[in-house]
Amino acid sequence: MTERSETMPIDCAQAREDIDAHAIGALDADEARNLDAHVAGCGECAGLLEEARDSGAMLGLAAPMVSASPLLKARIMASARVLDEKPRRAPMRWWPAAAAALLVATLGLAGWSSYLQVQVRDLRGDNRAASTAMAQTSEQLASVRAQLAAATEAQSMQDALIGIIAEPDMQWSELSGTRNAPTATARYWWSAREAMGALIATDMPPLPADQAYQLWFVYDTKWESAGTFQVDSSGQGRLVVKRDENGEEDGAKLEGFAVTVEPASGTETRTGAMVLASSLN
């Protein structure tokens, strides 16, 4: 891999020779970096570059006009409506409310904790009662933290899905339950451009605490782990996968996806029973 070059300081005269070319993207990477470094510290040249960019952008108006397909508009509007349900409305309904509720709960518990601390100081003879109350408070705080973590995970999944769905190279695959979990289903969405994937599984059987579900990318010559996930009390599990999946890795061809039961920390090679599987064919 090539090391990123250091910037070379240039003066205003040199910068102004390059500003017009930069405005239409005609500088090579090193020249562009040097100019960007200069304008970052020179207001006058930055203003000239802004002006040149305005003129440069107008060049697009010279392109011969071609009508886009009406289907393209329909596709864009439909996609925008799908996005509209997620980033704008859904979070407005539950996320701020949940966050506010958690904040109130946290503040309430913090206040309660302070109160108990005062009580402990004042009532030295009643240590046992105060300790019990503190322990309860800690448990409640742990519960709030767990809820907050779950909300954060849900938000992370939502953000991932929004990013993936917006990409034109978005793909998805259905995973069906095997005989080990016949009613379980899942869907995996991914985008190579976004370098991200997202799995949502439903009707998954509960697992003991020392086990987890593990998602695998199944290539023709190997299985590659994509991470582990737990399921909630309703049997739903979610996993965000941050990797660039373009159907091939080191010459191996992606054939499908699978979910197996593995130790909670995950494994490098599959050891447990398969509960979900899909095929790209």
């Binding site: 070319a21 802004e50 697009g60 010279a62 392109a63």
Partner: protein, 197 residues
């Protein structure tokens, strides 16, 4: 309310508030223009549609990135469309129709016969502004016009243009600089005289 009568900035304010009708109005106003610019760069209808979709969905997802104080909406939108197209052309060049660098010939010159190449159904979009840009381009010597177009629509650097044209790098740099200066002056003169753009 008749959204079609609203200015771009006003529509963008409404897009920020999540108004789908405002977004649709902006698409109706500029969808063909964005598609045309992208198509000119990538030379592939399917890829041009994907990029156009990408540009508008990004506008819908992050409308706050437009700052009316920093310039006109259409130049901001065209910058996004052009940069996104050039990225595609550079990163997936082999998938595009031009498998090698674009030919550095008069074929790249979009001015001759441009009005004939327009789809009549969309020719009215920004017709005054487009006429002004073409007029400004038409006043340039052909070699300057070609250098600018190879950079803007072809995504070539000055060095690549010099290689393609078999000209010294310094000559290409001078052509681009002079062309852009003349363009800027011509467009500014028009603003002063017409109060337009």
């Amino acid at each position: 309310m008749d959204y079609a009568t609203l200015q771009d900035d006003e529509l963008m304010t409404r897009v920020c508030a999540g108004e789908m009708t405002a977004f649709e109005t902006l698409y109706d106003r500029y969808g063909d223009l964005v598609y045309s610019v992208v198509l000119r760069v990538v030379s592939d209808g399917h890829i041009a549609e994907d990029i156009t979709q990408d540009v508008f969905l990004r506008l819908w997802r992050k409308p706050e990135q437009f700052d009316a104080a920093r310039g006109k909406f259409v130049t901001w939108l065209l910058s996004i469309a052009r940069n996104r197209s050039i990225d595609e052309r550079r990163s997936h060049g082999r998938r595009l129709r031009h498998e090698a660098l674009p030919p550095a010939t008069e074929e790249e010159d979009i001015l001759p016969g441009t009005s004939d190449a327009d789809d009549p159904a969309t020719a009215a979009v920004l017709s005054d502004e487009r006429a002004a840009v073409r007029q400004a381009l038409s006043t340039l010597p052909p070699e300057q016009r070609l250098a600018v177009q190879l950079a803007y629509f072809g995504g070539l650097t000055q060095q690549e243009i010099a290689n393609q044209l078999g000209q010294p790098l310094g000559t290409v740099k001078t052509r681009i600089r002079l062309a852009m200066q003349k363009m800027r002056v011509a467009l500014q003169d028009r603003r002063v005289h017409d109060g337009a753009v």
